[in-house]
Symmetry: C2
Subunit: 131 residues, 2 copies
């Protein structure tokens, strides 16, 4: 069988995602990874994101019209999209109580939920990053 090899590119991309404050878009991953690997190609980023997704190590999150990626295994969490700087943060508190199996008015059986909060991140509240 084909074994997935360990390469510098994959390590860096995985680390970039792991160290991020929240899910990153392809462009973010590319930019941050190029700090260590200036010659990194876009195709490699797409291929690696696909591979990591298939391996279940990361997964896509859609937010504000773009697909972002975050490491799996973070447990139940949600996202905060800052209207000031545009960054997306991971939040570990959940504002809803909807156990899987809950039946919503109308007969909708809920299996999972996703919450996105919009507002100002701490830095933007203090005017450090607003723009």
């Amino acid at each position: 069988m084909s074994a997935a090899r360990s390469t510098r590119q994959r390590d860096v991309i995985a680390r970039v995602l792991h160290d991020a404050e929240g899910p990153l878009a392809v462009g973010d991953v590319l930019a941050r990874a190029r700090t260590d690997l200036p010659a990194l190609g876009v195709a490699t980023v797409y291929r690696t994101l696909k591979l990591l997704t298939e391996q279940g190590r990361i997964h896509p999150v859609t937010l504000d019209g773009e697909t972002r990626y975050e490491p799996s295994g973070k447990g139940h969490h949600h996202h905060f999209s800052c209207t000031g700087c545009g960054r997306v943060f991971t939040l570990h508190t959940c504002p809803v109580a909807l156990p899987s199996g809950t039946v919503y008015p109308g007969g909708f059986v809920v299996e999972a939920h996703e919450v996105t909060l919009y507002g100002r991140c701490p830095e933007c509240v203090q005017g450090q990053r607003a723009g």
Copy 2:
């Protein structure tokens, strides 16, 4: 100044969105509108969606990686994405209590929130549409 004209295409597209069970993707709009206007072109759909958005009559919603559009003025609501048939429904009940201005742990000031529920719609629960 340039006045936006009333055309059959625009009327049909606006009606399709208005009559929908939830936000529609470009392809859905095109398919449904073509029932009345077989010759409708994709470009017109894109242009009309953009126009209606600028007029504030509709607005985009991103869900599962695709952009969908829904009429504005529906009041506070959320969405239910059916894992069976893939359709997205509008829900008028809100499972969270997060008034604008709430400060989330970490110092995040919440201005708005979005909730997406995933599960089985009534039809899919009854096996009528599952696939």
